[in-house]
């Protein structure tokens, strides 16, 4: 998660009126930590332990399962969170910018406290490595989707059609991989599908100036209808020739994949995951450090000024949207070849909308989008693991949390976000 910004620090000591101090964030932190302390650390039976497993079965270096006393550890972690909330408060009242480590530190301690509480007294242990690897895995389509949205919105085009691009990517990847009997061809086909959807978005949004949100929503419906139709008429009837894609093989990176915890999580993955590392890194540099990125952002912020200095506004937008479509389509490959699953009706299940939220949470930055997508991935992965272990929290409530977090984030409680100034407005010379 990106850092929480306090009210802007005083611009100059000489200015007579300082902006009012907002303690909303500090109070929210404190209340959360206190509630955690009471619910997770103080209430509940004594003498329980919580078990965690770190190593996977195939690791060269085995770390044994460890147990911690539940109530004490959860309470301690909540106290740490409370201390961080106090630090945040101190920084806010003295008009300093709170340390960027407060928010992630707070999040990690609260989540750990929750985990300890959730598995307290259970016979089964929580596989930490599996939890993290699952988070990364489930975050994949969201990362690609969020990057796609970012590319489009930085250029001034709102891309609600991420969902459709993911879905069509998944569809084409499955079909091509099945026909060629090679998962990597599916990986090549997926971006093509994304570009196809994006070109419709370009046609209507840039050429005909139709409201971009409307085009996006309608394109999603169109892709759902089209893929479901083809699924029912072609794919389902003859699944072995059309819809039994081989999965991408896991490619462990030598040496790196043997590091405990980090290895299995980061370096024992499929090519799609390694591709994701590359795309995030490249976009982070290109969007903010290259001429191309500067032009892209200028078109999204102030197209008239960009046009005045000779940047072709609509051409830049078209290219950005098509590139975004390719990125989202690639993410769609996750659902089928990335997962060794056959294509199913509406299998993306709203992932595109979550990706959109991840982009906003990540403040239109690749790094931020990655972090936000990982957060969603973690919530999903945690829900899956806890479903297996069984806890007191109903699974429906667990499933709700990422959406609740997004609403809080968008409502500015986690920090103000600002969209590119000209997004959603077609440029007419």
């Amino acid at each position: 998660m990106s850092a929480v910004t306090a009210p802007a620090p005083a611009a100059a000591p000489t200015s007579a009126v300082l902006p009012p101090i907002s303690l909303k964030a500090s109070i929210a932190y404190g209340v959360g930590a206190l509630a955690g302390l009471v619910l997770l650390g103080l209430v509940g039976p004594n003498g329980r332990t919580s078990g965690f497993a770190v190593s996977t079965r195939t690791d060269a270096l085995q770390i044994p399962v460890f147990h911690v006393p539940s109530k004490i550890s959860a309470a301690l972690l909540c106290l740490v969170a409370l201390a961080l909330a106090y630090l945040h408060y101190r920084a806010t009242v003295s008009r300093r910018r709170p340390s960027p480590w407060i928010a992630p530190g707070y999040g990690v301690s609260m989540v750990l406290a929750f985990l300890i509480w959730a598995v307290a007294g259970k016979d089964t242990v929580l596989p930490l490595t599996g939890l993290l690897a699952g988070s990364l895995f489930l975050a994949l389509p969201l990362v690609f989707g969020a990057l796609s949205g970012l590319l489009c919105e930085r250029s001034g085009v709102i891309n609600i059609a991420i969902e459709g691009q993911l879905l069509f990517g998944a569809f084409l990847a499955a079909v091509v991989a099945t026909l060629t009997k090679n998962a990597y061809f599916g990986l090549v086909a997926a971006p093509v599908a994304g570009v196809l959807v994006a070109s419709l978005l370009v046609l209507f949004a840039v050429k005909y100036h139709v409201d971009q949100i409307i085009v996006g929503v309608v394109l999603n419906v169109l892709v759902i209808g089209l893929t479901s139709y083809l699924f029912s008429t072609v794919l389902k009837l003859n699944a072995s020739t059309w819809n039994s894609p081989p999965g991408l093989p896991v490619l462990p990176i030598p040496v790196l994949s043997e590091i405990p915890v980090i290895g299995p999580v980061l370096f024992r993955q499929t090519a799609l995951v390694y591709l994701m590392y590359v795309v995030v890194a490249v976009l982070q540099v290109m969007v903010f450090r290259s001429r191309w990125g500067l032009r892209l952002r200028s078109v999204g912020e102030h197209p008239k000024a960009a046009d005045t200095v000779g940047i072709k506004v609509n051409r830049t937008r078209v290219r950005a949207v098509l590139l975004g479509g390719a990125v989202a389509g690639l993410g769609g490959a996750f659902y089928t070849v990335g997962n060794s699953l056959a294509f199913g009706k509406e299998m993306t299940n709203g992932g595109g909308y979550i990706a959109l939220a991840a982009m906003i949470l990540g403040r239109w930055r690749p790094k931020g989008a990655l972090a936000a997508a990982l957060l969603f991935g973690f919530a999903n992965s945690l829900q899956q693991q806890l479903n297996i272990i069984g806890t007191a929290v109903p699974s429906q409530i667990m499933l709700m949390t990422p959406y609740l977090v997004t609403i809080f984030a968008v409502a500015g409680i986690v920090g103000k976000v600002r969209a590119p100034a000209s997004e959603g407005i077609p440029y007419v010379k």
Partner: protein
């Protein structure tokens, strides 16, 4: 075709305005024949014409899909150069049968042995259209106030939850029970929507994101509620609530044999009320003022924040009524389930867009999409063409209508007078110039 006839009416409301605009162009003293030609062109290129052409185009594209998936067409295509006519007849067979089945399911079943059985299709269309019209009205109000509320789905769910709970948990005399349940539905949807409204007004949170998130939360909320003991049907393991009491159900309009219920009348009343609200009331004027230009509205002394909350509240109440119509009319016997809202909330977006956010337009576009839905079920049963085709046709209609120049280009029609071209695109469909 059913679609053309019903949308002919769709534009009845807007036609007069267009006709007034259309009057001057023949001022160049053209003789009668070319004048007729011009009038014909005017009709074809005006908004009514574009609507009809868009529907034709979407159905043509749907026909291509039907033909492509048909085994007879596929085999005939294999020997196209030997006997090309085979392919054409196979295509004609497949497409005409599918669309005939669609018509049978939507308007009048020609295969039925009695009139009473044949007309069942039309009552099905009206039944399916009811929630679409109600939710579409709500979304239309939002679009006209430049609030992009994608959250009808969640609001429909919440409306159904409130109305359903009142329907099965309480025992009340008949008219009162129904009234309370309907009111509860409206309040449920309204409350859910105003979360987004309040957040938008107080913090500027983007309503698109918030309403999408609220849709997802609603899905899990209803799943959670149905897992609670108080909401479970006795003796059932499925997530399903008890059946609703008869006193809370909408009375059937055409007897036991049809599903058509009084919710349809509610939808008609809602159309009139929304028309009055938007065109005749002060509140509606403020809605439209904020939609047209929030800055100007603010300067004129309208509280944009207050209007935002009101718009979402009213829109949510209408969507909640759609949920009430689902549970108190169509689905009441089987109780509340996770799938109670179906895809009403998503379909309603296309309904509102096709209806250009005006009550009369939404009424007829709701009927059209209701007909497509009801007909799609029969089409799937009789010819095996999946109902998903309806989604494709629906979305294409909206896309084409949103881009009149594209439709004109396809049919090689000239653009209407340049002055009109700007007016042509409905306000809700063109991107807003001013965005907060």
């Amino acid at each position: 075709m059913t679609s053309t006839s019903s949308t002919g009416g769709t534009d009845a409301g807007q036609a007069p305005a267009d006709q007034v605009d259309a009057a001057p162009p023949t001022s160049n003293g053209a003789p009668g024949a070319s004048r007729w030609r011009e009038v014909a062109l005017e009709i074809a290129t005006g908004s009514a014409g574009v609507t009809v052409l868009a529907i034709v185009l979407a159905l043509l594209f749907g026909g291509v899909l039907i033909a492509a998936a048909d085994p007879a067409v596929q085999s005939a295509a294999g020997y196209f150069f030997a006997r090309p006519l085979d392919l054409f007849s196979a295509v004609w067979q497949a497409v005409s049968q599918a669309y005939a089945a669609l018509f049978s399911g939507a308007v009048y079943d020609v295969q039925a042995e009695s009139f009473a059985r044949g007309i069942k299709s039309l009552t099905e269309t009206l039944t399916v259209a009811t929630p679409l019209i109600l939710a579409g009205l709500g979304l239309g109000i939002g679009f006209r106030s430049s609030l992009f509320n994608i959250g009808a789905q969640g609001q429909v769910v919440l409306g159904a939850v409130f109305a359903g709970y009142i329907g099965f948990a309480f025992n009340l005399p008949a008219p009162l029970h129904l009234l309370l349940a309907v009111l509860g539905g409206a309040i449920g949807g309204g409350l859910w929507a105003s979360i987004a409204g309040v957040l938008k007004a107080r913090t500027g949170a983007n309503e698109v994101i918030v309403t999408i998130m609220l849709n997802n939360i609603a899905v899990y909320l209803i799943a959670y509620l149905l897992s609670l003991h108080a909401w479970q049907r006795p003796g059932s393991n499925n997530p399903q609530s008890p059946a609703l009491h008869g006193s809370a159900m909408f009375p059937l309009l055409a007897g036991e044999r049809y599903r058509l219920h009084a919710g349809f009348l509610l939808a008609i009343v809602a159309c009139v009320v929304v028309w009055w609200l938007m065109e005749r009331s002060t509140l509606g004027f403020q809605f439209r003022a904020v939609g047209a230009n929030p800055e100007a509205a603010r300067t004129a002394g309208i509280s944009v924040e207050r209007v935002t909350v009101w718009v979402m509240l009213v829109a949510g109440m209408l969507a909640g009524l759609a949920g009430a119509a689902q549970i108190l009319g169509t689905e009441g016997g089987s109780g509340l389930t996770g799938g109670i809202a179906g895809t009403v909330g998503i379909d309603a977006i296309t309904v509102a867009l096709l209806g250009r956010s005006k009550p009369l337009g939404i009424f007829f576009s709701g009927l059209l999409f209701g007909a497509l839905r009801a007909g799609g079920v029969v089409m799937q049963a009789r010819t095996g063409t999946p109902i998903d085709l309806v989604l494709v046709v629906q979305s294409l209609i909206v896309l084409f209508i949103a881009a009149p120049p594209l439709v004109r280009a396809v049919f090689r029609l000239p653009a209407p007078g340049s002055r009109k071209a700007a007016v042509d695109v409905p306000a809700a469909l063109t991107a807003k110039e001013v965005r907060a």
